[in-house]
Amino acid sequence: MKSERKLTRRQALKLFGAGAASAALAACAAPAAQPGGQPAQQPQQPEQPAQQPKRRLEIFSWWTNGGEADGLNAMYEVFLQKNPGVEIINATVAGGAGTNAKAVLQTRLAGGQPPDSWQVHAGRETLSYVNAGQVEPLTEFFTEKGFDKVMPQFLLDQLKINGEIWTVPVNIHRSNVLWYNPKVLEEAGIEPKFPTLDSLFAALEKLKAQGKVIPIAVGGKDKFEASHTFESILLAVFGVEDYIKLWDGTDTMWNDPRAAEALGQLKRLFSYANSDRAAQGWADAMTMVLEGKAAMTIMGDWAHGLGISKGAKVNQDYGWMPAPGSDAFMWLSDSFCLAKGAPNPNEARAWLEVCGSREGQDAFNPKKGSIPARTDPDLSKYDDYLKAAIADFASKPLVPSAAHGASTTNAYQAKFHNTLEVFSSDLDEKSALESLKEAVADNNR
């Protein structure tokens, strides 16, 4: 080792140069697939003069495919008509039942690379972004654009966090819908009318006794199916007012004996469901209904979109009614926020204006298979089911969905889903109730 000192400084420097050069090689030897490290600059419109600074807008969503992607593109078209020359980066991520999108968004936010605007379920799901100071308040923007006058007051109230509105809802889905196969019910001699849980169970009992089909199909693979079914039961058991109180971030309502009763009802419902539900997604469950292998399933009205793409016709091949026990409208909504420190705040605001506009919503929703959050849609663009949903949205009491973030934070939702997924397999009411009570604090963060 001693003789190594003989190395002259010049030699050492030269060597270090070689080492550093090869380090640099490792880092940059990649062919310049993308000049520089900047995100996606491939000019889409070459006619754009090069020296003029490019106006851009990056929108993050999980609408990657099918009607949702078509709807999003339709909204982009509206945007581009009003804001020509803006380059839209459509940063979409799907897969992993939504967790992939959240993973990308979270790493970007933590890494200081926010998109201009991202998709989030309207309501309490926005809370964590608000608390972390990652989004801008939009209450003034709402008044400025007059959105507060065209959306139901009840919805606006449920959107508020710390007294402010933070996101612009572009659509409304209904969560508490029971889908059924009319032919199967007819053959079983059952009238498709289940106003109460008891009437539902009577029908399920009848179907089970006949043993020809699965009485009620339930999924589980996508993680939210059990909790989704449960929220409809909670609404039936608690009624509108107390159901809303369940999500206030305290365990008051969970200590109410009705909480245990609701779990008992869910357990009872599972006894009529397919035993392989852990392996099935909600779409598999709905497919069973469409194929007549199951009589019914409780799912949000995106199931209608599945029915259409399977070539089935609503009110003919499949029917629907509000989930038994309550005719309230349990809503969830996709919305867009404004990132704090958005790279292109002006474009982002212009985007949010499109999101809240009648034109934007009427371009998006018929394709997506949802209804506008506004009360003034162009009805001619919507199919029969959506027209009925629009009417219900305007006339029924509105309650927020828990399984889809309208009344729950991300943290709470994850635990809510997991608890119910576990319950779907071990049917242990006591430990499920305990976990639900333990998790309530998460609905505040």
Partner: protein, 329 residues
């Protein structure tokens, strides 16, 4: 830059050249050392720090809270299940993969017709990602209810109906041992068996390839000599072939362990961790904690525990490997 200079024949000069070369050697490693230092150890240090911080919401808060998150994790039933599943999955995957890979290698090596075709078929799953096949596996192992589906339907059609099972919807744990102090039952959650089957499907070809390489490097003369000495084929395998396959086996174990500990996509697409967390691994829980619950600190604690577990499993091998190497020299 270091083209040999034939004039440098004198020992002193040569030694100096040698020393210079030593330095070059170290410098050539530098890029990798720097990269690993930052991207592995730097990130581990960051994760370790975060795991003891108060970073439990979307808001970044790196104030120190100590080992709270670890304590909470170990008390959680879900995390205990994760660890059980990981241990069971890794052990079953390793054992089945190695045995099955060896059997495949022995069969392919038995001078069969169409050897290269069989070999390609057994090896090709390695080329395919679980992003691609995960769904097919879920479908295969969905048991059906009133009417069988997937594998169950297939088994029934080919007259093996007695093999029907509940596969990835089986919630039972076998033998369902209760251990005081633990919130989970041990040992094998049956739903994990199909997941192991899918993982074995993908990686047994690799084990086969390794063993095949090992088998072919055993000189034919040794086997012949043993046969002449009256060894049966079984004894040959037991006393000559298997011991000579040991180094290959060890390498295969390292690679397979690494694959099994990284298993994520497969579970994500095949079971999502269900039924009731029976197939969930810490990597999935970590993903949920970080990206659905926004509990970064808790997720970091899972990552650290995972790393510690990996160290427990692999450091002995790495040390053994090192000792073996130095004995060789």
């Amino acid at each position: 830059m270091a083209i040999a200079r034939p004039a440098l024949a004198a020992p002193v000069v040569r030694r100096r050249v040698l020393h210079r070369d030593r330095l070059i050697a170290v410098f050539m490693l530098l890029p990798s050392i720097i990269a690993i230092a930052v991207f592995v150890y730097g990130f581990i240090a960051y994760t370790a720090y975060v795991s003891m911080s108060n970073y439990t919401t979307a808001r970044i808060d790196l104030s120190f809270v100590g080992l709270d998150h670890y304590v909470r994790l170990f008390g959680e039933r879900r995390f205990q299940e994760n660890i059980r599943n990981l241990v069971v999955f890794t052990l079953m995957f390793l054992a089945v993969c190695l045995v099955f890979g060896l059997v495949l290698a022995l069969m392919v090596d038995a001078r069969v017709k169409g050897e290269s075709l069989f070999r390609s078929i057994y090896l090709f799953p390695m080329a395919i990602s679980f992003i691609v096949t995960g769904v097919a596996w879920r479908w295969l192992f969905t048991p059906g209810d009133l009417e069988p589906t997937g594998i169950n339907l297939l088994l029934e059609r080919i007259g093996l109906g007695f093999l029907k099972a509940r596969w990835i919807t089986d919630t039972s744990v076998w033998p369902n041992l209760e251990v005081p102090g633990l919130k989970v039952r041990l040992m094998v959650p049956l739903a994990i068996v199909p997941v192991v089957i899918a993982a074995v499907w993908q990686m047994s070809g690799f084990a086969m390839a390794m063993f095949l390489a090992g088998l072919r490097s055993i000189p034919e003369e040794i086997k012949e000599a043993a046969r002449v000495d009256g060894c049966s084929e079984w004894q040959l395998l037991r006393y000559i072939v298997l011991p000579m396959l040991r180094p290959v086996t060890l390498s295969a174990i390292v690679v397979l362990t690494h694959v099994s500990l990284k298993t994520f996509d497969l579970i994500m697409t095949m079971t999502g961790g269900g039924p009731g967390n029976k197939t969930e691994l810490p990597s999935l829980y970590m993903y949920e904690l970080r990206f659905s619950q926004f509990n970064t600190a808790q997720a970091a604690a899972v990552a650290m525990i995972l790393l510690i577990l990996v160290s427990l499993l692999t450091v002995p091998y790495l040390l053994y490997n090192r000792r073996a190497q130095s004995v060789e020299q």
